[in-house]
């Protein structure tokens, strides 16, 4: 090997070793990564990340409906439109069972793009805990959401539901109490929906008081719900039974189960006439977000 080549190799090796050593030293000094500072998407996208997150959520929705998009009203449907409808899938079908896993990457990206997209966490945890039968992963997802959105009561409510389904009542109590505390600091959202959530929380809390053999706080919870929603006849009857007889005819668990099952996707409710099938158009007007009847 001639002298200049040898000097070049030696210099390159020395520089490589020096840069490696400096990099090791710099890594030690680097600030600890946090949820916010570590997010690549947060840095790259800035405020538009909410829009991108919504786009990825829409992709999850379309995947759930096997490629069929949401219904969009059209002024006309010509030959091109009719031919395009025959090319793209148009049947009203959903992914089910294990195939629901296919919506998860899109929800995961939606969350990574905008960690404040609470709906994405809730939807992911719903499908993980129900059709995919992975309540453990659902709780992990909700915990991630809770760290990014510590004051959003909806995440605690969803965790409470999962703990109730698992019959883990101590954790359910913690989550529901936290949700009730945070409910008063709720984010800007539809008032009616917020009160429906509140009623659900109070009803769960009442049931948990009954399970703990504390009828008076249970009655107080139910009464608060009835004061806000006077048409809740089931709760009215329960209050009168507990007041007059000391306990209700049905067990608290008998009330809990239908309440938990009522939280399901609109297409799983047979009585819901949401399907506009037969119109000859892409008719889907709902999303993969679970709803109450």
């Amino acid at each position: 090997m001639n002298r200049p080549l040898f000097i070049g190799f030696a210099a390159a090796l020395a520089l490589g070793l020096a840069s490696f050593s400096i990099a090791c030293r710099l890594v030690e000094c680097a600030p600890a990564a946090t949820e916010e500072t570590d997010s690549f998407f947060a840095k790259m996208l800035g405020d538009s990340r909410a829009a991108f997150s919504a786009l990825f959520f829409e992709s999850a929705d379309r995947t759930f409906h096997k490629g069929v998009g949401r219904y969009e009203p059209k002024k006309f449907l010509d030959g091109f439109g009719r031919l395009a409808q025959r090319v793209t899938p148009e049947a009203h079908e959903h992914l089910a069972g294990a195939t629901l896993r296919d919506i998860m990457p899109w929800l995961s990206i939606a969350i990574k793009t905008d960690p404040h997209n609470v709906t994405a966490y809730l939807v992911a945890s719903f499908w993980l805990s129900t059709s995919l039968n992975r309540p453990d992963l659902a709780l992990q997802a909700l915990e991630t959401g809770r760290r990014a959105n510590p004051k959003d009561y909806r995440l605690y409510l969803e965790k409470g539901r999962i703990f109730l389904k698992l019959f883990d009542f101590p954790h359910a109590i913690t989550m529901i109490d936290s949700a009730l505390t945070l409910w008063h600091q709720r984010p800007k959202m539809d008032a009616e929906e917020a009160y429906i959530d509140w009623a659900e929380l109070m009803t769960y809390r009442g049931i948990l008081h009954e399970i703990d053999h504390h009828p008076e706080p249970a009655i107080a919870c139910y009464q608060a719900v009835v004061d806000r929603f006077p048409t809740r006849e089931g709760l009215k009857n329960r209050i009168s039974e507990m007041t007059s007889q000391g306990s209700a005819t049905s067990k608290p668990m008998d009330m809990l189960k239908p309440l938990l099952l009522s939280h399901q996707h609109v297409c799983d409710r047979e009585e819901d006439a949401h399907d506009k099938a037969g119109s000859g158009d892409q008719h889907r007007d709902h999303t993969l977000i679970p709803e109450r009847p």
Binding site: R86, V87, M104, L107
Partner: protein, 264 residues
């Protein structure tokens, strides 16, 4: 028009494209992206086939779109800037032969590259135990190839009168607008009136409808193939569009005068 001369010109396009290595780069990129997709593990559930197929098909479409436009818009301007167009036209070759030969060469190269993209994707889908349905795959490839023929025809047309950069830019913009906007025009016109509405409707009927050639969702969600009558109608529509743009390209180039030393 002479078929043998057209094929020889197409062969020249092949040699030039393979020498430039565009196809290899895109194939390596696609394979790299697919490898990354295969490692996605959302919420600890493991790999998801439909997500990988959908994203893989999107990447294949984007890469073939880039290849089609870059290759087609480069052909004629390069010949003019290098001065080889004088040698070419000194031979017993008509201008129509040149236009058709360049188009056939770019289209065939792009189709072969696209088929290789689909092949990589099909192998990966098979490894994930979620293979594509064969009849649907064949139909999807047929329609995609027809779409590529339209893209290359548009690229050739623009390149007859513009330099490479301008032709490529206009082709990208036109095809992207047609792809994204046209399917939504029936919804947009609900809220517009007057000139805006007229403008949208003019674009709707003037630009080619690329959404008719997109069977990706049928492939991803294992839907049945489309009816043969519909397939035939779409292929006929595509053929008419291709012929239209190639005739425009020939008309634009047949009496063009060349200036030595023009920039690419």
């Amino acid at each position: 028009m002479n078929a043998q001369r057209i094929l020889i010109l197409a062969q020249q396009v092949w040699l030039e494209t393979l020498r430039r290595k565009d196809v290899y780069v895109l194939l390596i990129l696609l394979t790299g992206f697919l490898a990354a997709l295969m490692s996605v593990n959302a919420f600890g559930l493991g790999q998801m086939a439909a997500y990988m197929k959908e994203t893989g098909l999107l990447l294949a479409w984007i890469f073939s779109w880039i290849l089609a436009i870059n290759t087609s818009t480069r052909q004629i301007p390069r010949e003019e800037s290098q001065g080889t167009v004088y040698l070419l036209l000194a031979k017993p070759v008509s201008r129509a032969d040149v236009v058709l030969g360049k188009w056939l060469g770019t289209w065939s190269v792009t189709v072969v590259a696209t088929v290789s993209f689909y092949a990589v994707l099909a192998v990966v889908a098979l490894l994930r135990q979620s293979p594509f349905g064969l009849p649907t795959l064949v139909q999807a490839l047929l329609l995609h190839s027809t779409l590529l023929a339209i893209l290359t025809a548009i690229g050739i047309w623009f390149s007859t009168r513009l330099n490479y950069d301008a032709a490529a830019t206009l082709t990208y913009v036109l095809t992207l607008a047609a792809w994204l906007v046209l399917p939504r025009v029936p919804t947009f016109v609900l809220n517009t009136t007057g000139f805006q509405q007229w403008g949208l409707m003019l674009c709707y009927y003037a630009l080619p409808h690329f959404e008719l050639f997109d069977m990706r969702r049928r492939l991803v969600y294992d839907a049945a193939p489309i009816l043969l009558a519909d397939l035939g109608l779409i292929l006929l529509y595509g053929t008419v569009i291709i012929a239209f743009f190639l005739i425009l390209a020939w008309l634009a180039w047949r009496r063009k005068r060349f200036v030595r030393g023009a920039a690419v």
